[in-house]
Amino acid sequence: MKALLLRDLRLALRSGGGFGLGLAFFFLLSVLVPLGVGPEGGMLGRIAPGILWVGALLACLLSLDRIFALDQEDGSLDLLATAPIPLEAVVAVKACAHWLVTGLPLTLIAPGLGVLLNLPPGGYGWLVLSLFLGTPALSVIGAFGAAVTVGLRRGGLLLSLLVLPLYVPTLIFGAEVVRRGTGGMALATPLALLAAISLGAAALLPFAAASAIRVNLR
């Protein structure tokens, strides 16, 4: 499992792995939104939590189809399916690797982009915490979507269509945490629900994803 994790990380980090793509997209979005909606600070601060969460979500979406598609193309997915570790664990490890190269860096650069978007000072801690708790759910749900569409040649659009509605609860609770955090309101409920979605998805979706892969490899 460790070998698989390291292999996935190495593949993602080397050139052509698409590691920088999500980050660059996130950065561009945060630069373009103020240019588009105008520089007025109060409004930017109000929409910043939502924009940052939507940006992180879309940046995550960009690299989803790489989770399984590349392995399927060169045949290593068949090897992984016959490997001694269960396919569920393979899915979990690959989702984890995806999170380490997208979700985690996104979480780390988010405060810097919050400055660009004039996020109020009270929000930074909550932004990092909510992304830290929420992005794993994005990766796991994305891995499920990638597993369902792995057999299709041009599954990219379909993958987005399948995954977007699944992302809704995570997005709502995640952005709500930051919004409440900037307003100084009580945020224990959305925070707990966000963590619950991540934990629940990480616990259950690998099984669904693994069964989808088995169907696709049949």
Binding site: G151, L152, L162, V168, P169, P190, L193
Partner: protein, 242 residues
């Protein structure tokens, strides 16, 4: 004699062929009664005027939009557990019908909302959950359409339907949490106090019964079509081999 015998396509075809004329007739009768009664023989609401009459399309369509998904969930489960092809095909047949009901509910709601709320669209929890439901339907239908092998498609869409149901439910509560509603409460409920007034209630129940039968009829028809196209494909394949 058990219900599973009807999972046999031949038996299903025979039974549904016998049942269809009846369900079609009943659907037409109930829908005509409910809608005509509702549109022309009920009084105007004292605040909403005649716009209230859209309830006879809106409420049944919205109910069936959700129930169609639940039916797809049940048939998907049956496919996963017992692998009856009729079940998978019924789920496939129900999806576009459910999508249509969802769109009908959204459009009639917008038409009613424009004069009443002064807006076609509001990010109200119910409206938002219906928009999300539309996305779920679209994804489900697109997945069916994208995969060539019918068994693979049935398996994958069933898995998607199971996972989607959980997330659809989650989204429902998430949007409730996220925004306060503009939409009124339920028009029908087991609690008599919450119901609409009796003059509106009776034709509404009739149209709901009509919509349920309409859904049933459409699913039967579409399932029959799916079974026939499956048979046709099998025949063509056999011919090519011969």
């Amino acid at each position: 004699m058990s219900i599973w015998e009807y999972a046999n396509p031949k038996k299903f075809m025979a039974l549904s062929a016998g049942a269809l004329p009846w369900t079609v007739g009943l659907t037409v009768l109930l829908l005509a009664t409910g809608l005509v009664w509702g549109f022309f023989f009920t009084p105007d609401d004292y605040r909403q005027g005649s716009t209230v009459k859209i309830i006879y399309l809106h409420v049944p369509a919205a109910m069936m939009a959700i129930n169609a998904w639940i039916m797809m969930l049940v048939t998907s489960l049956i496919w996963i557990i017992r692998r009856h092809h009729v079940s998978a095909l019924a789920a496939k047949a129900a999806a576009p019908v459910g999508l249509t009901f969802t769109l009908v509910a959204l459009v009639t709601g917008a038409l009613w909302g424009q004069p009443m709320w002064g807006t076609w669209w509001a990010w109200d929890p119910r409206l938002t959950s219906f928009l999300i439901l539309t996305l779920f339907y679209l994804g489900y239908i697109a997945l069916w359409a994208a995969i060539e092998d019918p068994d693979t498609a049935a398996d994958l869409t069933s898995i998607l339907c199971l996972v989607g149901s959980v997330f659809a439910l989650l989204s429902r509560y998430a949007v409730n949490f996220w925004n306060q509603g503009l939409h009124q409460g339920a028009s029908l409920s087991l609690d008599k106090q919450e119901n609409v007034a009796d003059v509106f209630w009776l034709p509404l129940v009739v149209s709901i019964a009509g919509f349920i039968l309409l859904f049933f009829t459409m699913v039967l028809l579409r399932t029959r079509t799916e079974i026939r196209s499956r048979r046709l494909k099998a025949l063509l394949a056999r011919e090519r081999v011969a």
